[in-house]
Symmetry: C2
Subunit: 717 residues, 2 copies
Amino acid sequence: MGVQIESRSEVDPAPRGLARLVDPGSIAIIGASDRPGSLGRRTVENLLDHSDFGGDCFLISRSGAQIAGRAAYPSILDVPSAPDVAMLVVPATATLTTLRDCAARGVRYAMVFTSGFGEVSDDGRHIEAEMARIARDSGMRIYGPNSPGLCNQNRRIGMLFSPAWQTDQRTGPIGIVTHGGGVGRAFMQASDRGVGVGLYASTGNEVDITAADFIRHMADADDISVIAASLEGIKDGGELAAAALYAAECGKPVVALKVGRSEAGARAASSHTGSISGAAEVNSAAFREVGVVEVDTLDELIDTAALFARKRPTGREKIAVYSVSGSVCVMAADALADAGLELARFGDATRRQLSEQLPSYAAIDNPVDLTSDVMADPQLSYDSLKTVAADPDVGAVLYPFPCDWGGISGQIAEATVAAQRETDVPVLPIWLSDRLGEGWTTLVDGGMTPMRTIRQASQATKRWVERGRWAVPKDWQPLPTGPARRDPVPREALSEAEAKALLRAAGIAVPEGRVATSAQEAVAIADALGYPVVAKVASRAITHKSDIGGVAVNLTDPHGVAAAFARITAAAMRHAPHVPVDGVLIEQMKVVEHGTEVFVGVHRDAIFGPVMTFGLGGVFIELFKDVARRMLPLTPASARALLAEPRCAAILQGARGAPAADLEALERLLLAVSDFVCARGDEVEELELNPVLVGRAGAGLVALDAVLVKRSRDGEN
Amino acid sequence: MGVQIESRSEVDPAPRGLARLVDPGSIAIIGASDRPGSLGRRTVENLLDHSDFGGDCFLISRSGAQIAGRAAYPSILDVPSAPDVAMLVVPATATLTTLRDCAARGVRYAMVFTSGFGEVSDDGRHIEAEMARIARDSGMRIYGPNSPGLCNQNRRIGMLFSPAWQTDQRTGPIGIVTHGGGVGRAFMQASDRGVGVGLYASTGNEVDITAADFIRHMADADDISVIAASLEGIKDGGELAAAALYAAECGKPVVALKVGRSEAGARAASSHTGSISGAAEVNSAAFREVGVVEVDTLDELIDTAALFARKRPTGREKIAVYSVSGSVCVMAADALADAGLELARFGDATRRQLSEQLPSYAAIDNPVDLTSDVMADPQLSYDSLKTVAADPDVGAVLYPFPCDWGGISGQIAEATVAAQRETDVPVLPIWLSDRLGEGWTTLVDGGMTPMRTIRQASQATKRWVERGRWAVPKDWQPLPTGPARRDPVPREALSEAEAKALLRAAGIAVPEGRVATSAQEAVAIADALGYPVVAKVASRAITHKSDIGGVAVNLTDPHGVAAAFARITAAAMRHAPHVPVDGVLIEQMKVVEHGTEVFVGVHRDAIFGPVMTFGLGGVFIELFKDVARRMLPLTPASARALLAEPRCAAILQGARGAPAADLEALERLLLAVSDFVCARGDEVEELELNPVLVGRAGAGLVALDAVLVKRSRDGEN
């Protein structure tokens, strides 16, 4: 521990980027070993035997003078020049010391394979905090710990211990970044069906370098055109969102699988917004907003990324289905319908050509059922597939191969590959059988990256087409959120009257009203407001007011108001005797004629910060969860998109001949709420207007109830 | 055509069952050929070279005296004895003649491979009708046309032309019946991952023998324990439902994929019930009701059937997740949560054992993350897997293998197979990689039928567990429906007043009321009923009454009633001058206090006959489609189950402290509606009560509006 850490300014200044990490000039392996089966040995073999690494490689081993037939150094401090990368294959207990030594020796990037830190215990988390400090203080960047390493396929450099890597020989345009090595390795092995990966990183516990850093790196990298990510614990939602948006601006689609959707979000929630907004829903909304193509499964991740690598979508693609089996055609049409994709309508020329090319009992409309006659004449497949792909309405061809017919399937596959060479409309073969014969191999070798199920193919196509419709949002950047919250923050709820006063001051329409502390005052307020009025208990401590008898509506005269005051204060005393009550809020019973009840809420997500939820209000909120979400701040465009997204939008827009609601007033409300929250920094934890009664176009709206929960500063330093 | 058809009574009486079809004593191939690549030759080769068929085989060829080195007969009429089965590999134009010859010669079962009939044209449908007549008149049963044949794997008899069959050598307990050969062949090739099929039939256009016949056959067959079906055009819904129920009674689960869900149901619909009930929804409801396990994809069909073949579920299974990769564990937990399955809770003994067996940083709770240490010590996997499977709360173990590590994966797979031998809790390996190495082969050879994706495995497990909870319904049989309707029937709508009169007579609560033909009469009726009343235009021809101004509510005095009468009749004259109007229906405005609006409808499905739809009423019906369905007739048990199924059931049962609705009255209503429809045979096409206002428990309900559409007998013979 006596080693002095040189600050980065004293050594060669390292770039913040990762170019020298993924393509280093020199590498050290600390913990290199000759012991069979050890991680140290596999790491050495992967770099020396299975890579084309031409730079310096320093092996460091406390025990041996010779490793893999080379002289080894006892310590990283002894190497003759500062390596770009040091891989640490050392015991957990030696990690901090070794990292300090690396920093002292001027290592640019330290990769820590070792496990047993933050993923296991609080002690581990403290050690990780120390690693982060070393990185911050020294400028040396740290990758890991608990990482399987990384491999640069396109340069054939493997900095990792996996015994599987030596067989992963394919290169390609896809960059992968994962939390978790198993997922990434499975993706790599999709090379066996022709999926080409150029760079694969698995960032482990991310004390310093994060998945977001790799997304930015890949966005800039010339040899990567599609970014695939499997994300488990996102360290900084704002950073990730910004990186994804940067990739989109660079023209690189990001396809991502969020792992850990089922984790129970142990969050405090005083509102519907909080209780119906799980981490998974917010994650999906955030991804969508920054153009990340979210997928549901590992296979979809692979298939979708591979499809983007084949062609960029326009968003207008309609699909042709083409197969030798009628029932498989129908299955594909089912799956496309489920995915919300549209079947192409063939033009007359296409139909005429098909009817010349195919047997009389083949289906010459879309889907095209070739019939099993193709078995006797694979030329049928070549001719008709070309015809289909040439139809002007066809943007992609789904081509399920139901089973393996040995050599016959090989010939059909050859015809498919040949037809694909003559069109840039992607033909997507789907190999349904578990028998991988000649046909399969021909498709793989022909660069057609066959998919394995109809559902996955149609889901991948859906993601692809939908991303084609997305555009980088104008004049918008996600808020910086800082590190993801691990622990709940102290909170305090305002009373409804307090909340409404703040909202009213911000230009948000709430009913006129004031808090009365006596029956007499209540009547005076009601007289001033005009009848009818509503009375509600005013207390920060009572959130479910009606449950305790704390609400009276439609009070039409002074007598009713006075009686309500007495009833409500008595009910509050009875149900919550030790709770401070400010009085009774007397409000205009402002009824918007023909109003529709909607719901507007904001809550602060642990990862992505403040998120707005909008949707159908009233009794069915939790039953139907008919809502949509957007990250704050809203722009006019994102507010309009948010309004149009829930299913109840049809009602608001005037379904079935009914008049439309006041969508302009709603849009103004959403923007005002966004401004209200954003103007207050990290103060607002939850804000919910429910119900908001929206009148017909031009009639305005009013937020009848409001919940506002602030972050409490009491006791914070 | 001069051949006289012998009626079945004159020849050897054939059993109605299919035992001699799938295991015949003698077979004729009509259209046998030596021409390379021809269907005739492949059929001969499949039977003579690739089967173990010991019975007589007669080859019939008009052209050749010798086929495959055997003497051929010029006609089926020339064979020395009547074969059990004749396979027809003849041109479409020769099919009818050949079938008549077969019947004349006393063939028991004729299989028609030929295509180009009902699936292509109306002419083809007429020929099929003639085939059906031949079967009916002669007693000879016909399989096909447009069928690829069938194969009895367990007896090794192939009566089919597929070039792929010769490589399908595995036997097994699964019976498959499909519409469409591609799907079945793909299923057969799942033998490459160890899935064992005993019998596979693909019934083609089903002029006589149907999928339902095969389900009954397999239900009785000793060598089949699970039935898998891929169904496209169901010929007779009632027959299929009854066959499935019979299989369930025999203890044989039926797993089915409905192909063609996206087909547009071109149906007349005068009600919500009709417009929100697509063929797919009704199909799913019918399947569920008779215990058919519906799956969404071909892979789920295979995986689910294979799982049933491994073990029968109890319905109480909770699941353990077990993997060498933490992120893959989380993906599996996500998928199980999506599938609504429960993770097992390990007992203390299990946790203690695991903490002894696994490295300190492994996750010893469910999911179990073995960590990559297992690479160095496969024994870890054997020990801990046994421990997990032995936990009393574990009903199945999902075990995803993220990637192939060559020999190491082989050793881990061996440990898995060995552990499975010592427990009857199914261990379900999932091989995520496209690289199929030693580990894969070991799992397949060990009988573990590895699945290919986590989602499919969890979906299969979900279907399996859910079927374990299902019981054969007591005292219930599906209605006989007859052949599926191809064409719409003539329909006539009753007026609301007529419909309500019929319903009232059947004991269904509707508001009191009568039709008035003058303002004076309207007032007299209102006086008699008591105020307030409702007035509605009474006409069979006006279904959307409010749209034309034909409804007035809350009329509190005679003056209001008279004015409403005038307004409504004028509106009807203005909007529909040429339409017969009976008058104006004056009804008690019977308001059930605190009522919830629900929706009860019946429509006649083209395949499954009358189906009831129940769910949330009001403005959001079409938006949320929060409904459930049951085939008629309802039993008290199925009525209760129907009431409990939609999401709005939570509201009716009294969610969030609200009082429960009158569920008993609702149950009585559902049964009364079922009786009403069933008592009228096929007369009722659509019946809809919407809204039905349901009061609190004991307060009853009332059907505020009613639509009734009858089948019109005018012009029918």
